[in-house]
Symmetry: C2
């Protein structure tokens, strides 16, 4: 499978939900498979909070493939011998699209905390610009999990005829206080990190040593992505420190996992991008801009496929069920599957074999 | 109801589970009600992580009564017209018992990070010393929730005949990785707080301005004490900032709650005490020192009353059920009630009316 990585540059303004304008802006993206002549084989894949446009395939010399590689590829559920798959880095994120660390044109100064607040609606609008610039005016499907699933739903509401279907996994109709609280940990941890220094930090220093605030906050993130059951089977009460049980900072296996993953992550991800994306998740509310959630949902013309995971501790199945019930009452085309899983929220990334056939079916149905 | 607050000073050594010795040591405690002549009307109440020996009653000039005031008092479930109730501040905690901020006798220097690791077993042992010093060699019941419930269970295992009964609420037989992870947030947040400065911080500065690390970590704590449902009904998606929705640091109601509570808490509680108590919770394992959990449980001679809460997101009902099943198989005297509640872990503090009759029954049965 061929991976093409590009950055598209836009000089026209992006009018944001806040009333502010992003101009100019860049969108980094990848494509897999070939666009057919009729341009009717496009699938848009949307990433989650810490994801990027690198959804599938292996970069040369890399050992870790894209984040949904088990789903996207030749002969896989999202079959790149048939479909032309596009995944963009959301605006605000730190992997090549315009973000708080981008220069505030025409100045060469970075936005930092002057970057405008971005919403899921804005992320979706930016992706529409990219697709238009590629001459793509409708897509077969829009698919994503977690924040990606929010984008898929927002697409369906804001652009009712643009796709044939959407598939939203492990998402919700609006961030609930439980999810906002988990995000609060990282917001406070970054804000209070003296080296974050009100957004004026030295990015190179963080790249080398990591950002403490982001690492601390990310521990809370990992809790919400897992579940009591997955932690029991992954770690149990195994103790790993050579220090002995009675050393104050001796560690259980689960603590080592948290330290290792969060320290690495805090070098790779930019703390300002994290704050802005978390804000987009917190403010996500399908009904904003419409009379009610019911009105927003009623606009949808595309087939909606909803997939939740029984053990999801971040966006609970009942939140997806709430959307499904509205679609049902309205007589709209939808399917809803609650996948039996103890893994937790990350099941949408980890247990692909439990739902890939549903995505395949959804795509073949169209 | 009369409150008597005292500090008992012990010059004999307390041999800790770690092999280290605490000598001398203090135990702060309160009593409610009157000790009868036969000294057979004693109830020991054990506090949770952030609690203190101030379990009931109002101090003069205070507006907030002790943490279990709805349960303990004249005519209440733990009736102080009948019973003599004792609650001690656990060793390691910062409300008057020996803690990391105590001087290392004979030096006047504080222990700080030289304080020995304390376990739930050690907390229990220290309480036994206090009771002996008061001439109390058996008690009617030992009652506690969360870490207090761990202590009640540990009492039952380590001192099989000391009580007539124990009541353990919202606890577990051993801290599971899910709970350890929530604690990991606070451990990392405190450790990495530059003002914590490897334990050499200025306590007065924290008392005035609060400890950032503790405040950040306590947000994760509050998540684990509540539940998605209780947050939905307490906060919903209410937005409270005058800044407007599109300000990066604008806040939802749930965020304001977290900020307010954690900032206050981080002035009142000592971060080193927090680290040591969290360590005691993480290392809690009823089976340690015995062949197996089964052997530990089998030692118990007292009536065991277990109460869990269906919406507890920290120590899940199935953990208490695990203990109940063992007691049942062994034919030991026990009762187990899983209280229907959406509140979360803090139900043991907040929804007392849902279980106080069970405690009353347990006490009357004896």
């Amino acid at each position: 499978m061929k991976i093409t990585t590009k950055v598209a540059h836009f000089t026209n303004p992006l009018y944001l939900e806040s009333g502010r304008i992003l101009e100019p802006y860049d969108i980094a993206y990848e494509t897999y498979g070939e666009l057919n002549e009729a341009k009717d084989n496009v699938i848009l894949v949307c990433h989650a909070l810490s994801g990027s446009h690198h959804a599938a395939g292996l970069y040369e010399g890399d050992r870790k493939p894209g984040w949904w590689d088990s789903l996207i590829g030749d002969g896989k559920a999202i079959d790149t011998t048939k479909y032309f798959v596009i995944c963009t880095n959301t605006i605000g994120s730190c992997f090549g699209s315009t973000s708080p660390m981008s220069p505030m044109f025409p100045s060469s100064q970075e936005y930092r905390l002057k970057f405008p607040v971005i919403t899921i609606k804005d992320m979706v609008k930016a992706q529409m610009s990219l697709l238009s610039s590629l001459g793509i005016y409708s897509v077969k499907s829009i698919i994503g999990g977690s924040m990606g699933g929010m984008q898929a739903l927002q697409f369906a509401v804001d652009y009712p005829n643009f796709a044939n279907s959407i598939v939203s996994l492990a998402a919700t109709y609006a961030a609930q206080p439980w999810a906002i609280s988990f995000n609060k940990v990282v917001v406070e941890a970054i804000r209070r990190d003296p080296r974050f220094n009100n957004g004026t930090y030295d990015r190179d220093e963080f790249k080398e040593h990591g950002c403490d605030g982001l690492a601390i906050g990310r521990v809370a993130g990992h809790i919400s992505y897992l579940s009591p059951d997955s932690m029991d089977s992954k770690f149990g009460r195994k103790y790993v420190s050579t220090d002995g049980l009675f050393e104050l900072f001796g560690r259980y296996e689960v603590e080592r996992y948290m330290e290792y993953n969060t320290n690495n992550f805090s070098k790779l991800f930019d703390p300002l991008s994290y704050l802005y994306i978390v804000k987009a998740i917190n403010t996500f509310n399908l009904s904003r801009g419409y009379e009610s959630l019911h009105e927003a949902i009623s606009r949808i013309k595309v087939d909606v496929h909803l997939i939740s995971f029984s053990g999801d501790m971040l966006f609970f199945p009942k939140e997806m069920e709430h959307i499904a019930n509205m679609l049902k009452r309205n007589g709209q085309n939808y399917s809803y599957n609650n996948i039996d899983s103890n893994y937790g929220h990350d099941a949408f990334l980890v247990e692909v074999e439990k739902f890939d056939f549903l995505i395949k079916e959804a795509l073949e149905k169209v």
